[in-house]
């Protein structure tokens, strides 16, 4: 009986403690500066080397296991890749020419080559502990020049954004996390919009212009529109579904990411920051717009009498005189 009572007392105490922790951590304005941020950084520093070691052991096993689970989708993937290859071959013919032309034009307008990104290579050593956040820990940190809000890519495309760093590890918010947001554009048409994660695949692209023409198969790349967080032009994925009904207020275009988020391994942190560093898109924008002062009393509108049409025209004569 004592035990049961003690369990109940402990339950109440721990629930109270948890509520206090949630409140304190929830109210800390900056995710890094509060007590939670510091504790998390401490845990990351302590567990980082262990996770690093585990990753070395786990990765080969993961690759083997991955090839077993992917066995069933291999044929589909093969067909898809063949189709893609044919498309690429078709485009390749003129590619060299376009590259040369692009270089010449860029030299003319004195623009730096954008593909020349400065990166730091890292390996994924852990992923988020909860089922409701999509994060990954990598083994490069602030010692390697990694800062918060930097873009993370791999050979396929955009992986995510750095949200926390310690000396030797950093944590990535993956692009499929619902809290992720990025300014992007359709590569073919230049239509800009906001890309956000939706848990697992697919991702959601919301074009700013709802009725914009978006077609299945078009490529989505990052954009520097309105002070985007990322270097423009990083590939993100392809449009998988783009239904539109007339009069729709918010349009959700489904985007299949290029990156396979279930088997992340080697990634690169883009050390270049976009031209103007701005707040990440998903945070509330800093509203500086002040509406113009409205005169509370509308000005009296004087009734205006239209001028007489034409005095020269003879007024209609009264019928009695005719």
């Amino acid at each position: 009986m004592f035990q049961r009572r003690r369990a109940r007392v402990l339950l109440a105490a721990f629930v109270l403690l948890a509520l206090v922790l949630v409140t304190v951590d929830f109210r800390s304005p900056q995710p890094d500066s509060g007590i939670g941020g510091r504790l998390r950084a401490g845990v990351a520093v302590v567990l980082g080397p262990v996770q690093n070691g585990l990753a070395v052991i786990v990765q080969p096993i993961a690759e083997a296991a991955g090839s077993v689970t992917e066995l069933f989708s291999l044929r589909q993937e093969n067909a898809r890749l063949r189709a893609q290859l044919a498309l690429v071959e078709e485009r390749r013919l003129s590619y060299d020419d376009v590259v040369r032309e692009n270089e010449q034009l860029r030299a003319q307008v004195d623009m730096s080559s954008r593909l020349d990104l400065d990166t730091a290579q890292g390996q994924v050593i852990a992923q988020g502990a909860s089922n409701f956040e999509w994060t990954a820990t990598i083994n490069v940190g602030s010692d390697d020049g990694v800062l918060r809000d930097m873009a993370v890519i791999n050979g396929d495309g955009l992986v995510g954004r750095i949200i926390a760093t310690t000396g030797s590890t950093s944590r990535i918010l993956l692009a499929i996390d619902p809290n992720f947001g990025a300014a992007t554009r359709i590569a073919e048409s230049g239509q800009v919009g906001i890309l956000s994660g939706d848990g697992n695949e697919p991702m959601i692209f919301e074009p700013l212009v709802t009725e914009a023409v978006v077609e299945v198969g078009q490529e989505v790349v990052t954009s520097s529109y309105s002070g985007g967080t990322f270097v423009p032009g990083l590939p993100v994925g392809v449009v998988a579904a783009a239904d539109y009904e007339v009069g729709q207020l918010v349009r959700r275009v489904e985007v299949l990411p290029y990156v396979n988020f279930t088997s992340l391994d080697l990634v690169s942190v883009v050390l270049d920051l976009p031209e103007q560093v701005d707040e990440p898109l998903e945070l509330a924008p800093n509203v500086e717009f002040t509406p113009p002062a409205v005169d509370p009393v509308p000005p009296e509108i004087e009734p205006t009498i239209p001028p007489p049409l034409n005095t020269a025209t003879p007024s209609p004569t009264p019928s009695g005189e005719a």
Partner: protein
Amino acid sequence: MARAAMIGLVLVVAALLEVSVLPVMAVSGFTPDLLLLLVIAFALQDGALTAVKVALPAGLLTDLLSSNAPLGMSVLVYVGIGYGVGAARPYLSPESVTAPILFVAAGTFLGVGGYGVLSALLAQESATLRLISEASLVATVYALLLAPAALAVVRYVDRQFPLDLSAAAQ
């Protein structure tokens, strides 16, 4: 003291497995919650008091290894589930095989679902109902597969470092 250290070690190892090893074996992107599973296993083996005691460090560990959710959210869920399962334990027959399975399933489903609802309220506005139900279902099935291992670990801990009943009764 040795028992506490052993449980701590088990929790840390489970947490490391959860963040480093399990993600590569995720089913449609979801992984089982190993620490919650351990809390349920302790509740089934040793009762509510132990479960609540284990739930605090286990929840803190989970919270410290995740980054979006506020600290203490997992503690809340784990303590609640641990107490609930532990409080129901005296009503189960000790030989029953189905009862632990049912409790692991119900505990995981409620735990992961509850965590999802809390994070929808506090951390991620876009953690949708579909996402939460998907995650809890996958985690439940996965937890059932891992439950024998978790129960075996807890039984091993109990055998090596028996629960000091006289201390608990004081």
